[in-house]
């Protein structure tokens, strides 16, 4: 095989590794061997053959397709891509030029440092227009008392620039949408459309089944207590004339955890809490018992019957009077700690499902520390993507007290449940 092909394949392997596939040198060797005997003009066949070598799950196949289509372009696609790229660059240059002119026009009315000026040029036209209109609205005030208004105007600009930065970081995560079913696993739960919810629920059931299978296999593997089961060993030895060649051991009976779930059901958290609860409830291997509490400004207990389906869950939340209110984690945790007879003790695992946006963060942190002292373990499942935590002070504060697991997607939620069940 030509040196150039091998170099290309090796670069392709590196690219697959960068995207998270374990493309081993042996795979590249196999791929080279395959291609040497194949008709390279049949693009689809080459793609399938390489996919068979490099991808070993359905998820990996989707990543492979994306990398392959980006790497091995047809001549026509390459030309079209170059043309699009040129057009995009020209358009971008025009927009940046326009943004620069706008900045020049603003003069000293807005104090932006060099990095903020650069971010401003990256803003889409509609966002820039909003800021221009805002500036126009306050034009007279700024001219009259620049000291009074400059800080305020700067804060509005800074907020818009920060939001833009967060949006760009989120867009870079590359949610997989080629396979709608798989895509649902990797999409932000808060962005599910109503029509996608039945599909998401059936996916939760499928993934929960898989985790249950995995956990029961894990338990079986570790079921050995190390103590000899003398009776079964003797019985077993009868088939071999009494020689004890096949030792039988007593089974280990692992104690399952007692879970206490504290779910934030204020406004935007409703959908996430519903999914997360459904997930945890369907994992029969996780806990021997669980109690669920719903909170916003106050806290109420929900029974298993109320959590059985989405409509019943929503009705429960609405009737409890906590729907549509703000979030006060401090109060919720204080009440939970004060319950008599006590809910939290050394054998309970407290799981908090919340985006950590709460009033009075300081009180919430103190209450969380108390809850942690009372419980065996505290885990926080946060639906906000981990990359955005750094922008939220309350998240940073509570994450210092207890382990926080990102759960913005069903995939992350499944991983969190695995972690919860295994440890």
């Amino acid at each position: 095989m030509d040196e150039v092909y091998i170099e290309k394949l090796s670069a392709f392997g590196r690219m697959l590794r960068r995207e998270g596939l374990a493309a081993a040198p042996r795979d590249t060797e196999d791929a080279a061997r395959l291609l040497a005997g194949m008709d390279l003009s049949n693009r689809e066949r080459v793609k399938t053959a390489l996919k068979t070598v490099y991808a070993s799950t359905r998820e990996e196949q989707l990543i492979f397709d994306r990398v392959f289509d980006g790497f091995f372009l047809s001549e026509e696609a390459m030309r079209a891509q170059a043309r699009d790229q040129l057009e995009r660059e020209q358009q971008r240059a025009r927009e940046r030029q326009q943004a620069q002119e706008e900045l020049d026009g603003m003069g000293n009315r807005v104090r932006l440092d060099s990095s903020e000026r650069e971010s401003y040029k990256e803003l889409p036209e509609d966002a820039r227009k909003k800021l221009r209109e805002f500036l126009e609205k306050y034009k007279g005030n700024v001219d009259r008392s620049p000291h009074l208004y400059s800080e305020f105007i700067h804060s509005v600009f800074a907020k818009a620039l920060l939001e833009q930065q967060m949006r760009m970081e989120n867009a870079g995560t590359g949610v997989e949408e080629r396979d709608p079913e798989m895509g649902l696993l990797y999409r932000d739960i808060g962005e599910f459309k109503d029509s996608e919810i039945p599909k998401a629920i059936s996916m939760i059931q499928a993934v929960a089944r898989q985790i249950n299978g995995e956990l029961s296999a894990h338990r079986r593997a570790g079921a050995h207590s190390g103590k000899l089961d003398f009776r079964r060993t003797i019985r077993r030895s009868l088939s071999t004339g009494g020689s004890l060649h096949d030792l039988r051991f007593r089974k280990k009976h692992p104690r399952r955890k007692r879970l206490v779930l504290l779910c934030d059901v204020s406004g935007s958290m409703m959908q996430f809490s519903e999914f997360a609860l459904r997930f945890i409830q369907s994992l029969n291997q996780v806990a021997e018992s669980s109690r669920t509490f719903l909170f916003s400004e106050t806290v109420v207990e929900a029974d298993a019957f109320q959590l059985q389906n989405m409509d019943r869950f929503r009705t429960t939340v609405r009737e409890s009077g906590i729907y549509g209110r703000g979030t006060d984690l401090g109060t919720a945790l204080e009440r939970l700690c004060a319950f008599r007879p006590p809910i939290l003790n050394g054998s309970t695992t407290l799981i908090i499902l919340s985006d950590s946006k709460t009033v009075d963060t300081h009180r919430a942190v103190l209450a969380l520390q108390e809850a942690k002292r009372l419980s065996g373990r505290v885990l926080w499942l946060n639906p906000i993507p981990e990359r955005n935590w750094k922008y939220l002070k309350s998240t940073m504060a509570v994450s210092q007290v207890c382990p926080m697991i990102p759960c913005s997607t069903l995939k992350e939620l499944a991983d969190a449940c695995r972690r919860l069940a295994r440890n």
């Binding site: 196999d30 194949m38 068979t52 089944r209 898989q210 593997a221 004339g241």
Partner: protein, 294 residues
């Protein structure tokens, strides 16, 4: 074997395949990699192994996995009864060392599917069915066999493969398989067939059934599979059973009555049957509607 030769061999069987599957089978065969097939129950995963055995003219050796499967059921076991008898017969024999040695020879070795597949004089197709049902230790044990094509029997030593079997592993994803096992395999995911493929399967497997009925059955099954409310989606085997049952009853058109009377062949739980009844009341199935429009 070239890709075209493999195509020719597969054409001789009754299996309906697509270009994707053909390429994957060719790759697994060429590289000598085990083939791991995943997909929902009843999409034809096990059938691939049977078809490859027929196409390659090899014997099919099957190992059905289940919880608690161990080496004694999968690889080998000593014939203890025979060993005890031999000891008793040679009780007075002075040469104990030779006797002991002979007890762990081929004569007392019971071959199980894995050992049989690598000690066979002619290469075979080894089907390790539903590997996800086996324990993790068994999976780890399979690694040596799949990567080195050899197994270690403590009393004998390492047994190398006389011939290399074509290995097919199937999984319903009841639990994820280890990364190490996956890495050693070529991977194929089989989805439920689309309309054209389903129809082609019906034509190939049930050539005597009326073409119009086949079309209606295929259409109805596609519709059932796409319905969110149906919990257990009908598999290909169930499609074939349904069409055969309709044909045996002399039904030539898939009318609502015919669907009601034979639904048990395609839907296998009560909730699904009730859902179908409800849907039929609201709106007759696609196939019937097409029929009524001519």
């Amino acid at each position: 074997m070239t890709l075209e030769e493999l195509r020719q061999k597969l054409d001789e069987t009754q299996y309906v395949y697509d270009e994707n599957m053909l390429t994957v089978l060719y790759v697994a065969l060429t590289l000598g990699r085990p083939l791991l097939i995943e997909g929902a129950a009843g999409v034809g995963k096990t059938e691939v192994a049977k078809v490859m055995a027929a196409a390659l003219d090899r014997e099919l050796v099957r190992l059905q996995c289940y919880e608690g499967l161990d080496e004694s059921k999968a690889l080998y076991e000593w014939n203890y009864q025979k060993q005890l008898l031999t000891i008793q017969i040679h009780e007075n024999d002075p040469d104990k060392q030779t006797l002991t040695k002979s007890l762990f020879s081929d004569e007392f070795l019971l071959e199980r599917p894995l050992l049989k597949s690598i000690r066979s004089e002619k290469p075979v197709v080894l089907l390790i069915d539903e590997v996800d049902k086996a324990d993790e230790e068994f999976e780890a044990f399979l690694l040596e066999l799949l990567s080195e094509m050899q197994v270690t029997v403590p009393e004998i030593g390492t047994i190398r493969a006389k011939t290399v079997p074509f290995v097919v592993l199937t999984s319903n994803r009841a639990r994820p398989l280890s990364e190490a096992l996956r890495r050693r395999c070529a991977y194929l995911h089989i989805d439920y067939p689309d309309m054209d493929k389903e129809l082609a399967i019906l034509r190939k497997k049930l050539p005597n059934v009326d073409d119009r009925l086949r079309l209606q059955v295929a259409l109805a099954v596609q519709k059932l599979r796409s319905a969110e409310e149906i919990l257990k989606k009908p598999s290909i085997a169930e499609t074939l059973d349904w069409a055969a049952a309709l044909d045996a009853l002399g039904i030539r058109e898939l009318t609502p009555d015919a669907v009601r009377n034979t639904a048990g062949f395609v839907l296998k739980n009560n909730e699904d049957l009730l859902t179908l009844e409800d849907q039929e009341e609201e709106e007759p199935c696609g196939a019937c509607r097409e029929h009524s429009h001519g």
